[in-house]
């Protein structure tokens, strides 16, 4: 049996239980002075005088102290968890089901069926749908803590492509939380591949091809003539042409992908007039803007600048990064059918390289390499990670307000009634006392 206090601060009020004793002793130091016609019939009460320092009515005093103590304890809201309650809670199972919503699994009807079957067998269920199953493990374990007191179990329904979960993500789940893995068979082909077209530079482009074939992964780099591959439009002073070429070359070497045909992009540097612009409204442009704002290299290059000029751009331009003085260094806006990026620096500046790379990387949809994986996590590994839900740790037994305080309130009330009854039986003394006063 364990005792919890929901409002332990109230226990300091127990000091108030000493009040009746203190009042009693203080009051007794000065006995009521009562005039009386004669003392000749009264017993010489030396013994009574000595008793002044003892308790004259211990029952009444005990009732008062007990009533105060009961009220204070009730205010502290105790909650007693008995072994019977613990056994009952231990029999309950709260389950968090993490459903893999990645493209390889989500479309499978078997996933939904497995989830429904698991929900039926649990007392409480939390369902998380995510395409990043490994990251969701911790969230699932935390979500269970908000539920009722029960044994906890996290069940993952996925096709468990290689890389879906790793040891670090498993370690994030508390050891008392059980783990189960329901593997949905995937009907994918034995091998997959994807090619990423690189950014053209000096008339050539470097394509990157990745092939997944069983446990083997092959990466091929293919250098070819750029041909019809789209390049970003660069608006810079004519004397900066060599620098612009170097800038694109550096971006290409950094693995920057080429622009898709439907996503034209224009970079405008200092020294050229700014074309007419419109606010960003197309989703891919807005997504590119948001991603560029979070690009660590671009933010680092901008934040230290103190020599930024005051911006003369129109209200249609949205700042992407600002200098230390708060001036926009990189801004974005829309043109007829593409995205315009204004860089308040020369092409040779490191800020320019960071801006070009950030927008090209974020503005291009790269293949989802994880979903192309054909190899699954071996069942032996899943079995090794599998574990049963452990007993409920002590710290997880959460007392629920108002706990068992109602019994103590009842006791306090009963004690007050008893005190009233006992006090009522002593009316003569009280009456005389009042009269004497």
């Amino acid at each position: 049996m364990t005792l919890y206090w929901l409002n332990p601060l109230a226990l300091t009020g127990l000091a108030a239980a000493a009040l009746p004793v203190i009042i009693h002793l203080l009051k007794r130091r000065r006995a009521t002075r009562v005039p009386f016609p004669t003392l000749r019939f009264l017993t010489d009460s030396r013994a009574a005088a000595v008793k002044l320092r003892s308790l004259s009515d211990p029952l009444l005093l005990a009732l008062r102290v007990a009533a105060i103590a009961a009220a204070v304890l009730a205010a502290a809201q105790p909650d007693v968890v008995t072994s019977w309650q613990r056994a009952r809670d231990d029999r309950r199972l709260a389950r968090a089901i993490v459903v893999d919503t990645s493209s390889s699994t989500n479309a499978l009807a078997r996933t939904r069926e497995a989830a429904v079957a698991l929900e039926r067998r649990a007392d409480a269920v939390v369902e998380l749908r995510s395409d990043r199953v490994g990251v969701s493990l911790c969230r699932a374990a935390r979500a269970l803590l908000d539920g009722p007191v029960a044994r906890h179990e996290v069940v993952v329904i996925s096709d468990f492509q290689h890389g879906t979960i790793n040891d670090a993500e498993i370690a994030c789940v508390p050891p008392d939380v059980g783990l189960r893995f329901v593997q949905i068979a995937n009907d994918r082909a034995g091998s997959t591949s994807a090619t990423l077209v690189g950014l053209p530079a000096d008339g050539r482009t470097t394509d990157q091809r990745i092939e997944f074939e069983g446990p083997r992964t092959r990466v091929t780099f293919l250098v070819r003539e750029a041909g019809a591959v789209r390049q970003p439009r660069i608006l810079a002073p004519p004397d900066h042409a060599p620098v612009v070429a170097g800038l694109l070359r550096a971006a290409a070497r950094a693995g920057t992908p080429a622009l898709p045909a439907d996503r034209p992009m224009t970079f405008i540097f200092s020294g050229v007039p700014t074309p007419a612009a419109a606010p960003l409204r197309v989703p891919w442009m807005i997504a590119a803007l948001v991603a560029a704002r979070e690009d660590a290299a671009l933010v680092a290059a901008a934040i230290s600048r103190r020599d930024a000029k005051v911006s003369t751009l129109s209200a249609a331009w949205t700042p992407v990064v600002r200098s230390a003085t708060g001036e926009p260094l990189v801004s974005a806006a829309a043109e007829a059918n593409g995205l315009m990026v204004s860089v308040s620096a020369e092409p040779s500046d490191v800020l320019s390289l960071a801006a070009v790379r950030a927008f090209l990387v974020t503005g291009v949809t790269t293949p989802n390499w994880d979903e192309l994986e054909v190899e699954a996590i071996p069942p032996s590994q899943l079995k090794a990670w599998t574990r049963a839900a452990g007993p409920i740790p002590d710290e997880r037994f959460k007392p629920t307000p108002p706990g068992d305080s109602r019994w103590l309130w009842g006791l306090a009330l009963a004690l007050l009634c008893a005190e009233w009854v006992v006090r009522r039986d002593r009316p003569a003394a009280a009456g005389t006392e009042a009269r004497a006063a």
């Binding site: 002075r33 009562v34 009386f36 016609p37 004669t38 009264l42 010489d44 006392e433």
Partner: protein, 300 residues
């Protein structure tokens, strides 16, 4: 008892400033209740008839009237001997104690004495007043007449309780001041030196005086009702005693009852008319009890 309808509540009477009115009301009510004056004696001056009661002396039965009415009537005569009574009132500190009804023993004794004085003076007897504590505080010689009654009542109305009690010397003086055989009415709580008081009472009896003792007490003295623990202060000596009445109650009540029994027995033994007057008992009831007893003793 103080709440009984038709009785003279001491609490009400003590609140009335006009002592003469109170005395008259008390006496009138008492006499009306008796239907005949208990002080009617048997002398030459015919007063009235009253129905015969067993125990009446047959020589006072009017036989002629019996012959006419076929009923027995006893002749009553107005007493012609002028009685002189001294009202000895204890005004010591202990008499200032008031019971639960707020009427002090002194106030009650004052009303009682006023009623007796009114009664006696109303039938032509002489009344004197002696107020005492440990000595005679005030003395008014025994005379008759309405104007004298007023001076007695004025003296009674000005009384304040204070000092210790020592009734022996004052009683001795009261007995000596009565030139011939008379009545001495003592209104006191008798918290005194029992032996000395006993001696003086016997001396007064030996001088041929008639004695009546009105033992005035409050209910709170008969039944001890004090706080759980109290420092009890003697109203006369100022001495204090820390006592727990809850423990002392039994022995206290035993002792006070012994005290009352002693005085009852002593008075009965000496032929003294003893009346216990508790301050929550209506005045007319106490007076009636006293007068009826006096009538019965006179009839014997």
């Amino acid at each position: 008892m103080s709440g009984v309808p038709g009785t003279l509540d001491p609490q009400v009477l003590s609140a009335i400033a006009d002592l003469e009115l109170v005395a008259r009301v008390t006496v009138d009510g008492t006499i009306a209740g008796l239907h005949r004056s208990p002080f009617h004696g048997y002398s030459a001056e015919f007063s009235q008839y009253r129905p015969y009661r067993p125990g009446d002396d047959l020589k006072y039965v009017d036989w002629k009237l019996f012959a006419r009415t076929d009923r027995f009537y006893t002749k009553q005569f107005r007493e012609t001997t002028n009685l002189v009574a001294h009202l000895a009132l204890d005004a010591s500190g202990s008499m200032g104690f008031a019971g639960a009804n707020g009427v002090s023993k002194l106030a009650y004794a004052r009303l009682l004495a006023a009623a007796v004085a009114n009664l006696l003076l109303g039938q032509g007897d002489g009344v004197g007043l002696l107020v005492y504590d440990q000595a005679v505080r005030q003395f008014i010689g025994g005379r008759s007449g309405r104007s004298h009654l007023r001076s007695v009542l004025v003296a009674l109305s000005k009384l304040q309780a204070s000092g210790r009690t020592s009734a022996a010397a004052p009683l001795k003086r009261a007995a000596e001041m009565l030139k011939r055989r008379g009545l001495i009415c003592v209104f006191s709580d008798l918290y005194d030196d029992d032996a000395a008081l006993d001696t003086e009472l016997r001396r007064a009896l030996g001088m041929g005086h008639e004695l009546a003792v009105f033992h005035v007490l409050t209910r709170d003295e008969l039944v001890l009702r004090l706080p759980g623990e109290a420092e009890i202060e003697d109203l006369e000596s100022g001495a204090t005693l820390i006592a727990r009445p809850a423990d002392a109650r039994q022995s206290y009540e035993r002792r006070i009852n012994e005290f009352l029994d002693n005085w009852r027995r002593r008075c009965a033994g000496y032929g003294i008319d003893y009346t216990l007057a508790v301050t929550d008992v209506p005045l007319d009831q106490v007076l009636k009890e006293y007068l009826l007893r006096r009538v019965r003793s006179a009839a014997r």
